[in-house]
Symmetry: C2
Subunit: 138 residues, 2 copies
């Protein structure tokens, strides 16, 4: 049974995702690959990303604007992110305390099969500096 084939498209998506410093949307990833030369299809990018996410090679989350963002993460397994809302830069963070708190809170209220969403959005140092100098320029 051939479960999955290797195609250059999937490989390119994986590379592009790895090249991106932080979280990127499927749309912008597609745009990037489009620019490079490849006539890769949007649907293929979505499929590849969904596949990567499914097998744990990528993390996905919803931006506050409702887009799905993806990232190739160094840390496999459960972890959270500190994300720059300007450039998308993401820092992987552990939150052992929060995990416990989440589990305890869920249990205390009779909830089972609890999953939690814990992410921090802000401006990274670079973007903060960039914005500060923009302000100065005004």
């Amino acid at each position: 049974m051939v479960v999955q084939r290797n195609t250059w498209q999937r490989e390119r998506v994986r590379e592009a995702l790895a090249d991106a410093r932080g979280f990127v949307s499927a749309q912008s990833l597609h745009a990037t690959l489009r620019d490079e030369n490849t006539g890769i299809g949007l649907a293929t990018v979505y499929r590849a990303l969904a596949g990567l996410a499914a097998q744990g090679d990528a993390d996905s989350l919803q931006s506050p604007e409702g887009e799905s963002l993806y990232r190739a993460c160094a840390t496999r397994g459960h972890h959270h992110h500190l994300i720059c809302r300007s450039c998308g830069l993401a820092v992987e963070i552990e939150a052992t305390d929060v995990e416990q708190w989440a589990r305890a809170t869920a249990a205390a209220n009779g909830f089972i099969e609890a999953e939690h969403v814990v992410d921090i959005f802000g401006l990274c140092a670079s973007c903060a500096a960039a914005r500060a100098s923009e302000r100065d320029a005004d």
Copy 2:
């Protein structure tokens, strides 16, 4: 300057939101109001919800499926939720520790203007029980 007018539509949306035990989507809220009799428009529901959320009378969050969900919350000000992914029931929770952790983590990584998303999704006791008896029935 008339800033905002009172219309029965906005009031109905507020009521319907209050009647719902937990988070509901704009779509289902519109469906509910539609059933009641009112020929209220979908756009109006969206506008009312956005308004309520803007003035702090309602909380909004994105479901894992990408829909925007709204809820009339008893607690004004910053708080988080424990949400049943089956019936939408939501429990308001305080997470002082998590707030601090979020702030500290952001600061430690040079991030400013940090906001955090902290929500727990699970199955509430009722839904868990309901599902258990369904299982038995099979």
